[in-house]
Symmetry: C2
Subunit: 207 residues, 2 copies
DNA sequence: CATAATAAGTTGCATTTGCAACAGAAAAGA
DNA sequence: TCTTTTCTGTTGCAAATGCAACTTATTATG
């Protein structure tokens, strides 16, 4: 994605009134999915995670967001009884608006409709690709396969076989939906079997 | 989704030339994801599955499509080395077009741009909701949780606690990414623990 | 800088899951 | 209808995974 939204998104308070930008500090909750509000968010700057906690206390990192990623309640059916919340992993700048409004061009030709609404289709397509990648990972049968698939994705994104994980190992386990200690054990086995080299959070693929 | 696309989609060969409708018989391959062709499909009628076979011979039902569901290569990054293919589970009618073209309104005011292009945002939003539901299922840690989550979803969709599974049990296992015999065992345990009643492929929730 | 908090790394043990191999039931096809 | 194929249901055993508990690094924070 080559678009830098932040360069042309500054303040929409003069045009579409329901569009607003907010800032969050690391650790703060950006939004939680409770009611059906058709809320639509764009992460302009920073890193954030969509988290789910189940009754057993297990945390799942449902999605991991960075620049230009979109999220919000509008993407979720009522369904789930588990709490979903988006938490800032670093300082974040987030654009909020209501999805319903987006397609109706406002009378005044505002910046919002000129810029953001134009690129929405591309942002949405990217989101679908992310979700499909996520499904591919989660549908792998073993921890080993999940790890190797994930490493392959990172490797092909960064165009190198050696990279620092964008997650802590604790978070990676929650992202792959596996027990952390079991994952650590499997990482060691992958090292022993010469599939990977591992120095702290740097992984090098040996194949 | 209340829209019945089939009622106004018949033949686009007179307008946008690259838009076409095709028919498939049960068991036929509708498309396979190999090259990056920006192919975009709408399932007008029938049931179809997106399947992945890994090198161990495991089959995964990545997505399960019915009326108005969308799919195609445009939603996938190059990435995966596994073969992905969409197979008709019943006789199907499918609309094919290239996603790039969709936003450029053609000069002649064709039926395609009048109808399909208009409802695309809604179809896409539905797809994202489906994918999120899928991720929620797959990220459940145990077979029991996967089964119960799945049953809850079906139950709330059909507005009844008693329903016939839209999958064979074999397919359900491939959809939840678990071993079939292990799933059968867990189903029996759920029965023994009085969580469900099970008569063949009819499930009744007892809670 | 000292201290607290979080993350990495490890291990034994219990539980869950996958695998393989069946038999019987149901569905599809000739 | 008969035959073949697919699906359901079951089980023993091996392997993978989760859980709990702990130690050692590393990173925040006053």
């Amino acid at each position: 994605m080559d678009i830098d939204i932040s360069s042309f998104i500054t303040d929409f308070s003069n045009c579409c009134s329901k569009v607003q930008t907010k800032f969050f500090k690391k650790g703060e909750v950006i939004t939680s999915y409770i009611n059906k509000r058709n809320q639509f968010c764009i992460l302009i700057k920073g890193k954030a995670d969509l988290l789910r906690y189940d009754f057993n206390g297990n945390r799942t990192i449902v999605e991991h967001f960075s620049n230009n990623d979109i999220f919000g309640e509008v993407f979720y059916i009522i369904s789930t009884n588990n709490e979903l919340l988006v938490e800032a992993k670093s300082n974040c700048e987030v654009l909020f608006f209501i999805y319903n409004d987006i397609h109706k061009k406002c009378k005044i030709n505002c910046k919002f409709h000129e810029s953001v609404a134009e690129i929405l289709p591309e942002l949405i397509l990217n989101k679908i690709m992310d979700l499909n990648m996520r499904i591919e990972l989660l549908s792998k049968r073993t921890t080993r396969e999940k790890l190797l698939s994930y490493f392959n994705i990172i490797s092909s994104q960064k165009l190198t076989k050696s990279f620092i994980l964008p997650f802590s190992l604790t978070d990676l386990a929650d992202f792959l939906s596996v027990d952390r200690s079991a994952m650590m054990r499997e990482l060691k086995l992958l090292k022993d079997d010469n599939f990977i080299k591992k120095e702290g959070n740097r992984i090098t693929l040996l194949y």
